[in-house]
Symmetry: C4
Subunit: 275 residues, 4 copies
């Protein structure tokens, strides 16, 4: 949808998953380091729920793209021309992410699906989004083209990372990198919406200005800095929380041990009394 909502929706969806990942991966990593493995069953269930949500979310996107008043309502060809190809392309992008979620879900439920296939399909979905965007923005004003093409950097970097993850599974650095790229994508969609369709209704940006193109390039880097900041904050919070809970856990165990020792000594004393 070529309006503010059409960019805010995918931006929000990407941000939701990105924020969840920036909690999940530090949690997984810190736990693993502390040798206190999260209950395997609980973790497995979490992964399944995430996969299910990542299968359903794109459906919302597809429905929104198809059935908004200005949408194609599932008509592809009418009279002598294609109907609303933009919306169809967006639907296709969502569809691939839905398939990626579905493969994740199946990987969680069935063990005979080859390990790494979920990452490959996610890499393909990310690549397809970049691929469609690449041809999507031809014949548009410079700033419009440029602000979309920035996205390609994040998408192809993400796709490459995911392809590497097919072979290097559970590598925390790659997982954090991928998460930061996803957050970047989320905030950038919002930025695109604000630049191309200012919701305040004020005058739009000058789409021909070279100055604006230069600013947007730099702004993209700042967004990435923000994404790294969000992730670092999440990482620190998770670390502090786990350290404290571990400490409390040890305290409780310590106190219980103390109590046990105490009652044991009492029992001994009583025992020696009884003797």
């Amino acid at each position: 949808m070529a309006n503010f909502e059409g960019h805010a929706l995918p931006g929000s969806l990407f941000l939701i998953v990105g924020l969840w990942w920036s909690v999940k991966y530090p949690l997984k990593h810190v736990h693993h380091k502390g040798k206190r493995s999260l209950g395997a069953h609980a973790y497995q269930r979490l992964e399944t729920i995430e996969a299910a949500i990542r299968t359903v979310l794109p459906l919302i996107g597809i429905l929104a793209e198809q059935f908004v008043p200005s949408g194609p309502h599932l008509h592809l060809y009418h009279g002598d021309h294609w109907v609303k190809l933009m919306n169809w392309q967006h639907s296709t992008m969502y569809l691939f992410f839905g398939v990626s979620g579905l493969i994740d879900l199946l990987s969680c439920l069935y063990t005979h699906i080859p390990r790494g296939l979920d990452k490959l399909v996610m890499a393909i979905a990310t690549f397809v989004e970049g691929f469609l965007f690449y041809y999507h923005v031809q014949n548009r004003p410079p700033l419009d083209q440029h602000i979309h093409s920035m996205l390609l950097t994040a998408l192809f970097a993400g796709s490459t990372t995911l392809f590497v993850e097919v072979f290097l599974q559970d590598n925390v650095v790659l997982e954090l990198f991928r998460t930061s790229l996803l957050l970047l994508q989320g905030t950038w969609f919002w930025q695109i919406g604000f630049v191309l369709y200012p919701p305040s209704g004020g005058p739009g940006w000058d789409l021909q200005s070279h100055e604006n193109v230069m600013f947007i390039t730099m702004c993209f880097c700042w967004h990435y800095l923000a994404a790294m900041g969000i992730m670092a904050t999440c990482y620190m919070l998770v670390y502090c929380f786990l350290s404290r809970s571990k400490l409390q856990h040890e305290n409780i165990i310590g106190i219980q041990k103390l109590k046990l020792d105490h009652s044991y000594q009492e029992a001994l004393l009583n025992g020696s009394d009884e003797e």
Copy 2:
């Protein structure tokens, strides 16, 4: 051959190999997981037959390109100009795939050929196809260029995958990815034929229209979705078939064991009678 048949022929050849692979690799993987190794000898023979077929199929392509009525009949230079360079380029593409098949065949027959060389030559053959296509379509209308350039994505992705397979052999995810790209290539050749040379004889597509270019980009993604669907179906069928045959196998063994036990008991009884 710049007609429908010239695109249907390679499309069919790629589809045949692609469909065979989408049965072969799941079979190999599921078998391997179930720890019931396919008879090594039988599998080796299958590989040899496949390699032989993949050596012969391109020959059919070369002969078709050279000896159709409008073909060059093995003449390269005549008078002051090159003869039918298009057909010669197609022949070169087929030739490289033939060489790739030949190396596969030799790898099956002789053990002293370095492991991984077959994948490297296949990667080269795929790259050469992309390389020739890249320079092939210059000076053509936009849609013609675009529909061919889509193919390049599949070809260079396939070539890269094969290059990685030189080092990571028998990786099922890479094998399935490669298979899906081959299926995509097969169906896309048919699509090119239908778009550029409609066999129904109706009016062709408008080769200058930007709308058509946009649709074709999206259509390429749908083809890939279809290729993934074909492969998933094959995978599931193979899995179900193997599970059932395994079950029957165990049942038969169980029944035979039961019978054996029964006759053993009878023998015992008889033996005790005879005593």
Copy 3:
């Protein structure tokens, strides 16, 4: 800053770090080979100091870019246009290198930061510099564009190397390669300053001349040769120095041993005398 100093400053900063690295990595490698591990504590402290310096140096760059008389003095938008976007872009580049230094510092101080994250952030900082430069030099005369685009080769090669180092840590070949690219970048910034803003005040180079473009391309290769030469010299000096110090060390130990043996024998003799 679009003047000689604005290129000499980053050039010098990169050269300082580059020269330090071309001493550090050979030292680390030769030590490791000789099985005489540098005191782990001393080495750790050195790394921490380096990280702190690499966090502070970019701050100098940012301050210089912002508060030179012609700088933006932290104003980004004024009236109806962006203020001194060039300086802001340079500040952004410095900022990313500062963040990279900070992550290095944190990695030195805290052990629970994932291994390899420092290399990833450095790869990102290098990529961001290249990314900004790429869009930085549009609409400029050919030689200006060309001399900056040479830099991109060094930057993207460096970024790729760092990305590989996330997985292959402590690989001396990659470390030396990265160091040579950093030296190249340092000397090349000086070269850009000399070409675009001759400090002698003489007439500048003809920015439209194709001959100059060709010379600059070749000159870039010579700079790299010089960078390799500097590194080879450092490597040899470190090697000779360590070999000699090792020899002296062994001599001292040998002499001490001799003395010990001597006094022991004397003690024995005395002992036997006393008997």
Copy 4:
């Protein structure tokens, strides 16, 4: 040198090294497989000689480029313009290959040079050749540009392969691939010479013709096929030669054993006679 000899000289140099490699690597591989290790000392000496030759050969190239009558005779800048930049660029290319040879030589002689550095420097030399060629051919007629740009494919593929070899040493598939690319480069330089400066003195090719561009693209693939053929032949010859020599070796050992057994039996008989 922009004439036939200027292309025949590098072509021949590359072919000499390429043909030697297509004997050396199969020899190394087949020997290794047969578990009959080539005398380590003899092999080491061979490598040293090769490295020395690869250091000297580029010097011939540099001298030829500088001191042919039309050469720059070591003058770089004269009057107000650069002197013979083409020859200088070619000299730079040769120089990098000379440095690569030198590093190989040093790696053979000194053991404390990091393993893999020789491959990295060779990768850099190959990349520099491609890098210079890329900017070398601008502002030339289409066929001239195209025939040179074909070379870039071989160069960047070779450079990438060498970069991978830094990590995967002694991988025979990569070594054979690199050899085939070197052979391709050698024959292609000859092809460039024949196309641009026909030695027969006949009329040159039409440098504007699209037909010629298309033929040259295909011709490049045929050259690669030829390079693969040369290598396959060398591989087979080496294999047959080694198998036969092994057989003869075993026969000789067998006969000697027989003789020994015979004389032993005789000695036994004589011994028993003498008893």
